[in-house]
Symmetry: C2
Subunit: 321 residues, 2 copies
């Protein structure tokens, strides 16, 4: 939530010309996302977001991330459309970094979305899955189950310090995942990080899906499991909000029906998703404060959710009727 890269007047003019923008009449650094520098840019009467990628994004993945949002926008989904440079590129080098310019999306991210919004967001996720199913876009999920034992090794000492006794349960989770993680669920392009922060609404309607920087190829139902974690728990606890869970799943299934195998897998997928966010938050938590992350998020929020998922028996525990 900060501006890391300050552009000179000359850099800005280079960007403007390369992307074929009109005269710039507004530029404001905005506190959007924690990883990149973002500017709101009005030029020639059009509104844009200029993103400068900082060290946490692997720029070789940008054609995948930006290609996905471009393709989804073309198919009518509410995603940002990257502007291509005059020479047809989706990114540009500026100030020694890589940047992109996308169309601006209206809408606000509610901090505490209601059930109707959860339902709309679930439907939007399913539309994204269907729209990009035949896209040919592929990227392995480097924060998927194979990564978790590696991350756990790096942060388990810190985790135990933060929360005594957490390690044993997590090692049991990892053993379960090694043995029981699904192998053949329907898969394709997933957003993998569709938190309320990354969905814009006008009223209760979705007006934007943003921040594709964790997108990958993986199980569709895992993407829904990420959302069950991110949208449906009461703040700071293990208490699942069944009304929101029901709305989210119903919204998803209003567009794409879950198979029996997907339904059966929801508890383990949700447990895996909770562990993924526990682990990455733990990594951030342990990192010395270099000013790059303004607000570290508490990993314990996810260890509480893990406890819920361990006890869950079926998708009915998440509100599906």
């Amino acid at each position: 939530m900060a501006v890391y890269t300050i552009l000179t007047d000359e850099d800005l003019e280079t960007v403007r010309i390369a992307f074929g923008l009109g005269e710039i009449n507004v530029i404001k650094g905005i506190a959007e996302g924690v990883q990149n520098t973002n500017y709101y840019v009005e030029a020639g009467g059009e509104r844009h977001i200029l993103t400068i990628y900082e060290k946490m994004v692997d720029v070789s993945d940008l054609p995948f991330f930006l290609g996905a949002t471009e393709m989804a926008a073309k198919l009518g989904l509410p995603t940002a459309r990257p502007i291509r440079t005059q020479s047809g590129e989706i990114t540009l080098q500026i100030a020694g970094k890589t940047c992109s310019v996308c169309t601006f999306l209206n809408g606000i991210s509610p901090r505490n979305p209601n059930a109707t919004q959860a339902k709309s967001a679930g439907a939007a996720l399913a539309k994204l899955h269907l729209a990009l199913a035949d896209s040919g876009l592929n990227r392995s999920n480097d924060l998927g189950p194979n990564a978790w034992p590696v991350l756990w090794d790096k942060c388990k000492l810190g985790a135990e310090q933060l929360e005594t006794g957490v390690g044993k349960a997590i090692e049991a989770d990892l053993a379960d995942f090694a043995q029981y993680w699904p192998k053949d669920l329907p898969s394709g392009f997933i957003h993998a990080d569709l938190f309320p922060d990354n969905v814009l609404f006008l009223g209760n309607e979705v007006s934007g899906l943003i921040d594709f920087y964790f997108a990958a190829t993986d199980f569709f139902a895992y993407d829904l499991a990420v959302m069950l974690n991110a949208w449906c728990f009461l703040p700071l606890g293990r208490e699942f909000d069944l009304t929101k869970g029901r709305a989210l799943i119903a919204g998803y299934e209003s567009v794409r029906k879950l198979s029996d195998a997907e339904c059966a897998a929801i508890p383990i997928l949700a447990r895996g998703a909770a562990l993924r966010f526990f682990l990455t938050r733990m990594m951030d938590w342990s990192r010395p404060d270099d000013g790059s992350i303004v607000t570290k998020k508490d990993p314990r929020e996810y260890s509480a959710r893990l406890a819920f998922h361990r006890a869950a028996k079926s998708i009915m525990d998440y509100g599906r009727v």
Copy 2:
């Protein structure tokens, strides 16, 4: 340059209703200023800046700061117009803090303004002086010459550490100010901080004067002396850019002619202004890093400028012909 206060959905709705805004369709935290939290808010088709005042602003001064920008806007100057609440107040209490909502101004702040822009900005300053001369707005300048010996006592050890030998020259400056600081120049409302950051342009025309949070009652020529420091030096040195200085003064005098006494006072006023920014930067520099100031500005930039002003003989050294 950060967002310190996060509003809940309920806070935001309270703000919207209190200020009589339409439905909100965009809200983005923006990296504007170093002291306050600012949000870009689009509501009911109108663009606004929502400012939440953090601890560095004395809220009892807000009626003065916001009243000045309101009055200037009514007189046709390019300043933000504060929206008043339904009950006629210029500020609102929210999340335990004070906030305001102002109309949004188009334009960009050039990092390295050209001479034509300096001329426009000089003219805009003079228009502001004339417009508010009879406003009845009064606030003593708490960062004026009476404050400097006090600030110097607090930071002189740090200053000597940062730059060996700087102390002796500054103590001579303070002695000069005690003896020779002007007593009776034309005075009234001054902005007191009109750096290029605080002026918006569309092309070479001024489209906005912002950030009135150091405004006070003081000598008009001191306000021009602040600008000579902030607009007319080459980066990181003591070298004065005569072309820009000439343009700035000519722009100012195209609207309001300087008296002989004001012209004669320019070197000492410019020296005082340089010391004022040296001292406040030094205070920030010495302060432990609590995350509230992302980029500390180097005080030595202003000790170099002090050396220029000490050697200056007359306003001709600043480009006036």
